[in-house]
Symmetry: C2
Subunit: 224 residues, 2 copies
Amino acid sequence: MKCDCENCHIKNIFYASVTPEELDRYCSSRTERIVDEKETIIRQGAPITEFIYLKEGLVKLYRNTPAGAQIISIGKPLDFVSLLNVFGDEKYSYSVSALHKSTVCVFDINEIKKMILENGAFAFKLIKTMNKASDRVLFNYLDINQKRLFGRVAAVLLEFSSILNSDSYELPISRKEISQLVGMSIENVIRTISDLRKDKIIKVYGKNIEIIEKQRLIQIRDLN
Amino acid sequence: MKCDCENCHIKNIFYASVTPEELDRYCSSRTERIVDEKETIIRQGAPITEFIYLKEGLVKLYRNTPAGAQIISIGKPLDFVSLLNVFGDEKYSYSVSALHKSTVCVFDINEIKKMILENGAFAFKLIKTMNKASDRVLFNYLDINQKRLFGRVAAVLLEFSSILNSDSYELPISRKEISQLVGMSIENVIRTISDLRKDKIIKVYGKNIEIIEKQRLIQIRDLN
DNA sequence: CGCGGCTTTGATGTTCATCAAGTAAAGTGG
DNA sequence: CCACTTTACTTGATGAACATCAAAGCCGCG
């Protein structure tokens, strides 16, 4: 398989200081895997043997708890999927599954480890990238936590608008999953969406969302 | 200043594969700083020029938001204080201040960067350690979020019991700070502590807490 | 066609924030 | 050291935000 991905983080990180042999090894240690919607990419509790990167599509990171499923983060293209604690732990503490048909790049984790050990520039850029990624997840969570129902739902709708780069899109997740993402009951999530519809801030046809009054939605997000 | 700290993470990380010159450089680039209770160690918004490590004492990581202060995590000895995004960002996105008189070890961030670039084994162990640390913060937050008032307060009381290694201790933080840590109102935090006292699960004299029925407190944490 | 899961709305009760008001404790200036 | 101010703490009362329960419609799938 050729290394033809323009925007690949790993490759760009690697390019900074790479010998031809290293690039060869990088290319041959990589495999692409296509996963269908709803397919599981990483299973909570499974041993960590791979380092995974989302080339295309959309995924959710979540974990099962005694109180039910909890969605930790939505993964966009060019995000690491092996986001948290890949090197610090033996087993995954969360699951990842595809929201759309997606393509992931898979490396043997020992290959990445080797690269870290042998190539300091790669190690440094990887630290930087992983730092940024886990920071984003944590602060997103901290932000959501300060908001109430309306603010949380507005934040989710705007986040997908930003990810999908459109004010009119098909929701990649169910109402129930929104409730698992914002940590509130499904009934109240639905009620909130209905209220936003009744106030003509959004239009809703099933899974299709159209943001009508973006400024008001942003206000609701920021003031609630 | 000598490198005499038995348990120092950085040093232990470094020992794995260290030349005498490297250890020398490590020692000379380190400075110890003693901070008083309530003194600020890191200020949100300040440029990141140092890499900081908590040798002794207790600190809080927090950030200021439009909705008020929010405590992100409590830092114990041997924790990194420069926990999140030290390499990924230009400025600190949170503050750190001392809850007790504390001792921190300070490195020039460029020295740490150099070590990463030049010593792969150091880089790998640092990644591992940072991964674990940010994981702990995130999952602690995810856990707290699934609990209600009683469970959250019980979790905080038990966490300090574990950190201070005793069932009878002086609370290192105020009631208000507990409320900023668990994300609930100060009045309800106080009410909850009072209720636990009335049920004879804990004894309270001002800042002094004595856990009487630890098993029940653990139950309250886990079932609420 | 019928079953199970997802969605929706209404009704009800719980959990929690907020307001109010007072006490205790800790810092401040004379 | 004392009067003064501020900050932390505490309890009660009220209403808002939210979860839960109930019932019904919808949709996909075997």
